[in-house]
Symmetry: C2
Subunit: 387 residues, 2 copies
């Protein structure tokens, strides 16, 4: 069974581009430099992670759209969707395609352009990741779901909701140094606490923004790697790629505060990589809302239930902490172009492992990315290893 | 490298269900019997082929929606989209996932519910498979694209447009015997010629209908097959699964009448299966419009350019002809629930090979399914073999 390598990556700054850049522009800016830099590698499959381009931009069929635009004549392509876990799920497919030995080099692109629509519509397009019949048509949105979870969490464990904002403060601190981040500035806890309520107890600063982004990574098999002249210092191995699911409906779960799919997928991924969580040095978590950072830390076993804010208080989630999370600014401050997020995470894991990240974790050996679809209904876990 | 087997399949009748059945109802009716009948097989991945559920039904994230509804707790799932080739593209993924040896048994579901919306909206949702910026926003729709192609074809080769309707007459003849078909009745050429023009020269009877459908197939590896008690007479091998792409925009093609991606994908698939086109006994073509049956026959090398209608005139495309196509009624008369079509085709290939089809081709050994996204921008070719 061949190993799977990531030899390069590229991404555009996360922003609201509005009319300034089309889907096509974003795509080209993210993927073309990668193709040019690696022209000796013959791409034989293109996988696109995207959640909702047909709704945001009236453009479906992104696989063929992309191969056309990149002049990859005849190359097979398709789109993978798993709500906001579309990016992570694309890697899941690409990993298996290389393992099947039917492909040698795969371009994986994550793209989402959310800003071409008004925000209310964006909220409704996002809600399509939940169960329309049982949930959405009754009026709930994703900020609503996360507000409910945060409310319950704070009640259950006696946590002060203000403390959830510590995760946003940490995210912004990292984003301030990341040139690709949407909000390249630090925020104070005081300011965050004064931000308006969005879904009680969650405030504006607990929530990731509507964002546009496109990121691309290039995966290949052992034989392709052997043949290329790519600098070995820039090569990272994708050692595990797993998905687990939970019920799409929140009311079906025994304990809605448990991100069971994250626990299951991470367990599978660590086992497959033959490592434990203690081997991981960088944790790119799906912190679309502060409560999701909390739930993720607990689901991944980095904290006891109800204790995740302690990690934030003690600086353990900081870039120089025991469990550095959201190292590039997280979904809160780097931005969350939903279907692209999983590929941004992969690119950021790669940057950390090849030591080209800003901010940079000190000499990491393993990075884990967690990409969530819906309220934890789909969770993808990818683990990357330094060569 | 393990071989890939299809051990069972199931589908609901193709219809406009409107309010009578929800997406959830359709899904359960298609997939649950399959799971129950094969309860000894442990499904470890679910792949959903769907083109536009978020637009038609406001339900995205069909992977988790499906694993929830089928009570496949924790099982990984995701959705594959390649416009109306989503079904074929799902098989493409599942085939690679089994070949990777990371999965043993995969449920592949194709689903589309188009009738919950008015037809004008359906036409616009379908148009999202073309290039919005360069094509769709200027007003063209899929009947329009196909009308242009038919116009050019008839001009170029001196073909009478009425003769294109011979493909619809053949499709209806087969559909009359297929209990799952949307239009279970024969039509006369005279009646078809009198049907209203939709996009000159194409008439209503040249075009497939807006349809609802759900189909499911169960794939597994050699080891799983060995362990199961499934009746070997009902097992078929999936010997090849290929995709090729062409430009999403029609104006970028050298010759728009050439379905280049079909030619390329079929060539790869036949080579991989180590057979020639003469070994294929059943051809499930993507005849969404009569002109697409024509273009497919020519792209797959069954006819010289400009001569495909001769095959229809000579009865060679009939169930007892040299190249039986649309054996279950084709997209025209069986119906075309877009993202589900590729899985209906796979199910129908399976029915033919295990000799449970009505109408039935005489003792077929190989069946080929061609599933097209857009105007031939994505073409998937799957080849099935009798055991």
């Amino acid at each position: 069974m061949t190993r799977v390598f990531m030899v390069d990556g590229n991404a555009i700054p996360v922003k609201k581009y509005g009319e300034k850049k089309t889907l096509r522009d974003m795509l080209k800016e993210a993927a073309l430099p990668l193709i040019k830099r690696n022209s000796e590698i013959s791409i034989d499959l293109v996988v696109v992670g995207n959640m909702a381009a047909p709704q945001f931009t009236q453009q479906n069929h992104l696989g063929a759209f992309l191969t056309t635009e990149l002049a990859l004549d005849g190359v097979p392509s398709l789109r993978v969707e798993a709500a906001s876990a579309a990016g992570g799920a694309s890697l899941y497919f690409a990993y298996r395609a290389i393992k099947s030995r039917l492909h040698r080099a795969i371009l994986v692109v994550g793209i989402e352009k959310m800003s071409s629509t008004v925000t209310e519509e964006a909220t409704s397009f996002m809600a399509a990741a939940a169960d329309w019949e049982y949930e959405v048509q009754h009026g709930i949105t994703f900020p609503g779901f996360n507000g409910i979870l945060a409310q319950r969490y704070c009640y259950e464990f006696g946590v002060n909701p203000d403390d959830l904002l510590l995760f946003s403060v940490n995210a912004h601190k990292n984003a301030a140094k990341n040139p690709l981040a949407m909000f390249q500035k630090e925020i104070s806890l005081e300011k965050a606490i004064k931000s308006p309520l969005v879904a009680d107890p969650l405030r504006l600063y607990d929530c990731s923004p509507v964002s546009d982004g496109a990121a691309a990574v290039l995966l290949c098999d052992e034989e392709t790697l052997k043949k290329t002249e790519v600098n070995r210092d820039n090569v990272v191995e994708l050692v595990s790629s797993e998905i687990a699911t939970d019920t799409i409906t929140l009311h079906n779960r025994e304990d809605p505060l448990e991100l069971k799919a994250a626990t299951v997928a991470a367990k599978r991924a660590l086992k497959h990589a033959k490592i434990t969580k203690d081997d991981i040095n960088v944790w790119e978590l799906h912190d679309a809302f502060s409560i999701m950072a909390v739930a993720s830390l607990e689901a991944l076993g980095l904290s006891e239930p109800g204790k995740a804010v302690d990690l934030a208080k003690e600086g353990e989630i900081a870039i120089d902490g025991k469990y550095p999370i959201s190292t590039m600014g997280g979904l809160k401050a780097r931005g969350h172009p939903v279907g692209a997020t999983g590929i941004y995470q992969a690119y950021e894991a790669w940057l950390q492992l090849v030591q080209q990240a800003t901010p940079q974790v000190d000499n990491p050996q393993y990075a884990l990315t967690e990409n969530i679809g819906g309220s934890g209904a789909t969770v993808t876990i990818n683990i990357f290893k330094k060569m």
